[in-house]
């Protein structure tokens, strides 16, 4: 069995997309890796990450560089960041979400590298620890902007990683 296997991918079309969702994720892998290049139509770069359509029992811890200021904070709903409508045109964010043991009965912790870069003084790069306090196997992942929609050419690729 290949170690890395593409499960599914999404390339947003000309009409944009309110969210990007992967469903019916098989439990046959060990870990999941989601690679996202998002840009959204609003000026708020927050994008939520929900598993199995659940928006509750989530939290995060973040280490960040926001426009040159380094800090750390916490929040209550799993998240990544996206490039926003006021950023340099034709620019997209870059994010990796690594979810180990996604089909286990443990709560689901993940590590996230997420950035939005811009040819101006505004930017964000962050390392995020996301947590979904639920023992269910992850069978669906939905990423949804806090406001606005994903614009055309935003992409998301979901890989399964097997240690078999």
């Amino acid at each position: 069995m290949a170690t890395y296997t593409l499960i599914s991918s999404v390339i947003v079309g000309s009409g944009g997309a309110a969210n990007i969702e992967f469903t019916s994720i098989p439990a046959t892998y060990t870990d999941l890796l989601l690679k996202v290049s998002p840009r959204i139509s609003s000026t708020n770069g927050t994008v939520y990450v929900d598993y199995n359509s659940s928006t509750s029992n989530q939290s995060w811890n973040r280490l960040y560089n926001s426009s040159g200021s380094v800090g750390a904070d916490t929040g209550s709903r799993q998240y990544i960041t996206a490039v926003t409508s006021d950023y340099t045109a034709n620019t997209f964010g870059s994010t990796e979400i690594y979810i180990p043991n996604y089909a286990s009965s443990n709560n689901k912790s993940s590590l996230v590298d997420t950035v939005q870069e811009n040819n101006s003084s505004t930017n964000l790069q962050a390392l995020v620890a996301n947590l979904w306090s639920n023992s269910a196997a992850i069978t669906a992942i939905r990423i949804v902007p806090f406001s606005g929609t994903f614009v055309q050419y935003s992409t998301a690729y979901l890989y399964g990683i097997s240690n078999a």
Binding site: W60, N61, G71, Y98, P100, A129
Partner: protein
């Protein structure tokens, strides 16, 4: 076609244990990736230590960025006897912390070895560390231990992958 990523070994703890130890690592790959889900058996937020080839000499240096949810910081240590990671895990929750370690060009016999590692748990914090091992030996053993002889909890899973550049 040769697979680019290959599993070398997996360790799943059936009971608490003092170390995670990958031995006899083949030198036939180009890079190594270690993926872990860890939890401590007792101590909250202990440091995690890593050594290569069981070298206990002062041959390691460490640069870290870290955050605890309210403040960020950085550290730099030279001539250490291990690579040290902060903000690892919490025995008071049911949550396991993901760990991702990349060791590039681990099997060459010419250069010193660098490991780039991320730890993170929502209830504790994050650590992003680069560690240098000043040895030209190929890495054939990677050992994780915890501060104050704390044990890793039952259920911890570590997998080491080899990456072939071919």
């Amino acid at each position: 076609m040769t697979a680019t990523y290959e599993k070398i070994a997996t360790t799943t703890l059936g009971s608490s244990q003092a170390s995670i130890d990958f031995t006899s690592i083949s030198g036939s790959y180009t890079d190594l990736v270690i993926i872990g889900s860890i939890k401590t058996a007792t101590l909250t937020n202990p440091a995690c230590y890593v050594r290569f080839n069981n070298d206990t000499g002062s041959n390691y240096s460490v640069t870290s960025l870290y955050g605890n949810g309210s403040s960020a910081g950085s550290t730099k240590f030279n001539s250490q006897t291990f690579i040290r990671y902060n903000y690892v895990t919490d025995p008071n929750t049911t949550n396991f912390a993901p760990v991702i370690m990349n060791i590039n060009n681990y099997s060459n016999a010419t250069t010193y070895k660098t490991a780039l590692t991320k730890f993170g748990l929502a209830s504790i914090g994050l650590d992003y560390t680069v560690g240098l091992w000043r040895s030209t030996s190929a890495i054939n053993r990677v050992t994780f231990t915890l501060e104050s002889a704390t044990n890793f909890a039952s259920g911890c899973i570590f997998t080491i992958y080899g990456i072939k550049a071919e």
